[in-house]
């Protein structure tokens, strides 16, 4: 099957049925969660504070639930009403907006401590109408310019996306740079067809060259090993967390209480409790 963004505009593709199917699919939940944790790692926020974050194309809140768990306050924007409705049902804590990111944002300068986006901006590469304001470069320019303005100096935006070609990566990074961002592309597991992930890691301010683009994760070709390796690195971080004196903003008890509450209200697919529940992850570059 061809890629979703080639089939229909996002608010149509993610209608009621697809929005539920997407959100309830446990494989998708896992992948989006992994990428959200990785995006947070690349965001490199001060380690023991709550931040005010923007989730670009927040969808049904799969990332938002993790932002909640990590004690961040967030705003999510998405153009698909059905996805936002699922997010409401899941009782995520962020403020949700129905917004087309290709039309740009109206947030005041310096509003956010950072932004993440998971599996979204490839949608901006397809023109939806023949109107000049809907050409991909025009929409990308409005998006990156107003995103840049909405972020604090210094801060970062980390956007995972699915390019179909190097030309697309080139187009997106060059427009982001023109909008004022530093940084570039981080590719995790570049040699694995399945695990390969592209993150645009953008910097606002911070003295230009002082911020190095982080390294992508490397792994053996085999995907099983990729996963093992990702888990292993989490274990390592976990050890460090235990020894370090970081204080979790939302502790494990709080999250378990909240999950229990959700379950009692009859919510399905509350993430199961695991040894990772309520644990902060530390940045490793």
């Amino acid at each position: 099957m061809s890629r979703p963004e080639l089939q229909a505009p996002p608010e149509i593709y993610y209608g009621d049925i697809e929005a539920k199917k997407y959100t309830n699919n446990s494989r998708i939940q896992q992948i989006q969660a992994d990428m959200t944790y990785r995006a947070l790692e690349l965001l490199n926020l001060p380690s023991d504070q709550s931040a005010f974050l923007l989730d670009v194309g927040c969808g049904s809140g799969l990332s938002g639930e993790i932002l909640d768990e990590q004690g961040h306050v967030w705003v999510g924007v998405d153009v698909a009403p059905s996805m936002l409705e699922v997010a409401l049902d899941r009782e995520v804590e962020g403020d949700l907006f129905l917004q087309d990111i290709g039309q740009g944002f109206g947030f005041r300068p310096g509003s956010f401590d950072g932004a993440i986006s998971v599996s979204v901006i490839q949608w901006l590469l397809n023109a939806e109408t023949s109107h000049p304001t809907s050409s991909p470069p025009h929409r990308l320019t409005r998006f990156f310019t107003t995103l840049h303005a909405a972020l604090r100096n210094p801060s970062r935006a980390v956007l995972q996306f699915y390019p179909t070609s190097d030309d697309q990566i080139q187009l997106i990074t060059s427009i982001a740079q023109k909008a004022g961002f530093g940084g570039g592309v981080v590719v995790d597991y570049p040699n694995s067809n399945k695990a390969r992930k592209v993150f645009l890691c953008l910097f606002v301010g911070g003295g230009g060259s002082t911020q190095q683009i982080p390294k992508g994760l490397e792994a053996e070709e085999d995907v099983g090993q990729v996963h093992a390796r990702f888990e292993a690195s989490r274990q390592r971080q976990r050890k460090r967390d235990k020894n370090g004196k970081r204080k979790s903003i939302k502790d494990k008890d709080w999250i378990l209480r909240k999950k229990e509450l959700y379950r009692r209200r009859g919510k399905e697919d509350v993430p199961r409790d695991s040894k990772y529940t309520g644990r902060k992850r530390k940045t490793v570059f």
């Binding site: 306050v73 907006f97 129905l98 310096g110």
Partner: protein, 123 residues
């Protein structure tokens, strides 16, 4: 779920609307209160980002008059709890936000503001 923390950062983004486009004015709002976790450190760090006058006005529009006209010098717990309530626990569920400059109406339904612009309003 527009809360005042977000409303305070939101300006009109319609084409050509670049001055006097903040704060958006509430109209016909329905409000719900929902408890949130109190995080004094987060609030202290956030205060410099706020347009205080706009916050006090917006809170009044929603029927909350607990905030002083100027932020106090001493950020004691009592004050931070009021601020916490105003910023994070008051949810606007229905109504609209209207641009003071171009009068664009951003309707709010089910807690979600519709920020979509028509083709001729896109910059």
């Amino acid at each position: 779920m527009v809360r005042l923390i977000t409303h305070n950062l939101l300006a009109c983004h319609a084409k050509g609307c670049t001055s006097n486009n903040f704060p958006l004015q509430f109209k016909d709002v329905q409000v719900e209160l929902r408890e949130a976790e109190f995080n004094p450190d987060f609030l202290r760090g956030f205060i410099p980002r706020l347009e205080w006058g706009a916050l006090v006005d917006a809170a009044r529009q929603l029927g909350d008059t607990s905030l002083p006209a100027e932020p106090p010098e001493m950020l004691d717990v009592e004050f931070l709890q009021k601020l916490h309530h105003v910023l994070l626990e008051v949810h606007v569920e229905e109504g609209a936000m209207i641009c003071p400059n171009c009068n664009h109406v951003y309707p709010i339904s089910n807690g979600i503001p519709n920020m979509l612009l028509a083709e001729h309003e896109i910059g």
